[in-house]
Amino acid sequence: MKPSKAKDERDPGEALALGIGIFVVVGAVAAPLALRQSPATPPVHAPASKAVAPRGLRIPHAADVLRLDGELDEPSWRASARTGSFLTGEGKEATPYSDARFAWTQGALRVGLYASDEDIVAARVPADGPVWQGDAFHLVIETDGVEHVFDVGPTCVLADGERRDGERIDYAWQSDAKLACDADGTIDVPGDMDEEWVVEMEIPLAALGLQGTAGERAEVRIRRCDVGSGQRRGGCGEIAPTVLILGE
């Protein structure tokens, strides 16, 4: 991972005002923007729709040992279950491209998140801070009506929380997830061309309320929003609600 430079100095108020201005000016094309969200807005207010019937994704059991380094190079990643490209609200392949892949072991759910990105921007915030102010994935894993929320950006700062019964997210909850990230490019350097960033993560099954038994299920929703500078600000893409099924 490359050293980073000072963060974008635009404060949230300016960003919000800019966002409002843009919204007014391009009101005629507001619909396509509906998926976009202000980096100052916690993504919890705009979760992926649950109205769509979830699809199923059987995820394979992995036997190898994961070396958490942000490189999805273990054999189990090649056999992992994949979401395919994230999509826009119109059902088209979202750009920048994103995808996610899953495997599980006896103790953990493995999640690999890939983000193509020509201008990588990280929110300089502490753990459990508003990670979504920069480039970030917003991952919700729901079991038994409890949402486990993970926001993670290219520097691997994680905001994890839990929401029960539709209440506010409790960021005091800790998943004890282990993760590593790798960025190919220069984080927070707007003038150059970056390639991508990757998150490699292991989430303890117990934190998700899973026992580690084949056939167990959890619903997952993922959204990724791109925060670039100027014209290099992409939109958001997401996957349809998906039921992960622990395979044999």
Partner: protein
């Protein structure tokens, strides 16, 4: 002398520039004196109405089933009229030639709305009031209207049919046996990138006659495609190699009329661990996809042909040495074109040597003092056009060879730096174009390819094609003169 739409626009622009600068403008056919676009005089006739005569370079510039046809001394989109009765009252069905060199019947606007057919070059006056020597009738590879030749655009029984088999003042390309507009600089010496005097060169008229092999060759029109960044998203993920997209792109390139005889590729054909075994299988998939294209591919090396890291440096004696990715690239992609170094150059010229071009492939992830010396000596070779192909753009300067090669390149004239690395397409600066949308996970834009086409004014036009629709992004289109200055 006929003036095309583009010439007319150039004339207007030059006229305005001259007025603004209180400078004297050259007369008709103005001298191209190093960076100044070739200009016509401000007395040029008004350009054809683009609504009536939509300009084009190739068929895909046209919509609604129209073809790009030679009309009135330039090329315009025109509706086919194979039965002779498809034209409305403002058009006449005439037999013309398409830019691909095929005869076709199309609806031509009445009253010479797109201009009149070109006449043979006039004998220019000399300063002493006499006349200059008549234009040569033995331009290499071309037969003048009065020379008997084997073109067959018209029948000898027709009164307008010239001895060379063409009509309307067109010359016969004796290699393709197809007619084309008259050469205006036949026999002139090759200019340099610095922009010494040169005039319009051959266009796509008569199709692209080419003979391209591993070391370059000839093209009647400088014409090539650009494909870049064709790797999967994740390391060793060979099962997710973007074969379908790459196949479609090369199939698209092959289907263009005319099909470009050569493609330059900007690197990153694989995403493979250097300790693994996936480099070869991924390149096999690339080569299988590339089989959809029948021309010659000249590959540049990307960072993924080293270790994958942008900052990595490979090759004998380098930091990472000869990795499995490097070896696979050298053997599978450069072996077939007999290149023994990841950096190399090829030369392409017109059959008449009216222009010359060199393509310089820089390997910024195999940088060495040897490559630096080679690059200096190669760039020093004088050619009309110089295209430098390198994987990383100037801003991706963590690659070991980017900044050093930039320093060398900047000391010499060049036309365009062609790069990839970012998974998109863009025109980062006047003399740099980026195509990295060949199948690797997109950062923005669409998958597709670039197309570089030499125009009749000597500038090269760059288009970005979408792989699904095989249509150019007209908002992207730009052109530069051989010395890299913007062309209108």
């Amino acid at each position: 002398m006929q003036h095309s739409l583009r010439d007319g626009l150039v004339g207007v622009i030059v006229f305005l520039a001259c007025v603004a600068a209180m400078a004297a403008c050259a007369a008709d056919g103005g001298i191209w004196d190093g960076g100044t676009p070739p200009a016509t005089s401000d007395a040029a006739p008004p350009p054809p109405n683009p609504q009536t005569c939509p300009p084009c370079v190739i068929d895909s510039d046209c919509s609604g089933g129209s073809v790009c046809a030679q009309i009135g001394g330039d090329s315009y989109c025109a509706k086919p009229c194979p039965n002779g009765n498809e034209c409305d009252s403002s058009h006449t069905c005439e037999a013309v030639m398409t830019v691909a060199g095929d005869e076709a019947k199309v609806c031509v606007p009445n009253n010479n709305a797109c201009g009149t057919a070109p006449q043979p070059p006039q004998q220019p006056s000399t300063s002493d009031g006499g006349t200059a020597p008549p234009p040569s009738n033995s331009c290499p590879g071309l037969a003048s209207p009065t020379t008997t030749a084997g073109c067959s655009s018209c029948s000898s029984s027709s009164s307008s049919c010239q001895p060379n088999g063409c009509y309307g003042g067109w010359w016969c390309n004796t290699q393709t046996m197809k007619c084309q507009s008259p050469p205006t600089n036949c026999g002139s010496s090759t200019s340099t990138d610095g922009g010494s005097s040169t005039g319009p060169v051959q266009t796509l008229d008569g199709g692209v006659n080419s003979s391209i092999s591993a070391n370059g060759g000839t093209e009647s029109t400088l014409y090539f495609a650009i494909v870049g960044d064709t790797r999967p998203a994740v390391i060793d993920d060979t099962s997710a190699y973007p074969s379908a997209i790459i196949s479609q792109i090369f199939s698209d390139v092959n289907s263009l009329k005319p099909s470009p005889p050569m493609v330059v590729t900007t690197g990153d054909y694989m995403f493979a661990s250097t300790s693994g075994s996936q480099a070869g299988p991924q390149l096999s998939l690339y080569l299988a996809a590339r089989k959809n294209y029948g021309g010659t591919d000249f590959p540049a090396m990307g960072n993924h042909e080293c270790t994958g890291a942008t900052a990595s440096n490979c090759g004998p004696g380098s930091t990472y040495g000869v990795t499995s990715n490097y070896s696979a690239f050298m053997s599978d992609l450069l072996g077939p074109i007999s290149k023994t170094n990841p950096y190399y150059s090829i030369n392409v010229a017109s059959p008449t040597n009216a222009w010359t071009a060199k393509f310089v492939f820089v390997a910024a992830n195999a940088w060495s003092s040897t490559q630096a010396s080679w690059l200096s000596s190669t760039m020093a070779q004088t050619t009309t056009y110089t295209f430098v192909i390198r994987h990383e753009s100037s801003t991706a300067n963590t690659a070991p060879g980017v900044t050093p090669s930039d320093q060398i390149i900047s000391q010499y004239p060049y036309t365009l730096l062609v790069v990839g690395h970012a998974h998109t397409y863009s025109h980062p600066s006047t003399k740099e174009v980026l195509f990295g949308n060949g199948g690797a996970p997109l950062a923005s834009g669409n998958y597709g390819f670039g197309l570089v086409t030499q125009r009749s004014d000597g500038a090269v036009q760059v288009d970005a094609y979408d792989y699904a629709s095989v249509t150019p992004d007209t908002s992207f289109r730009f052109a530069v003169y051989p010395n890299g200055t913007p062309a209108p």
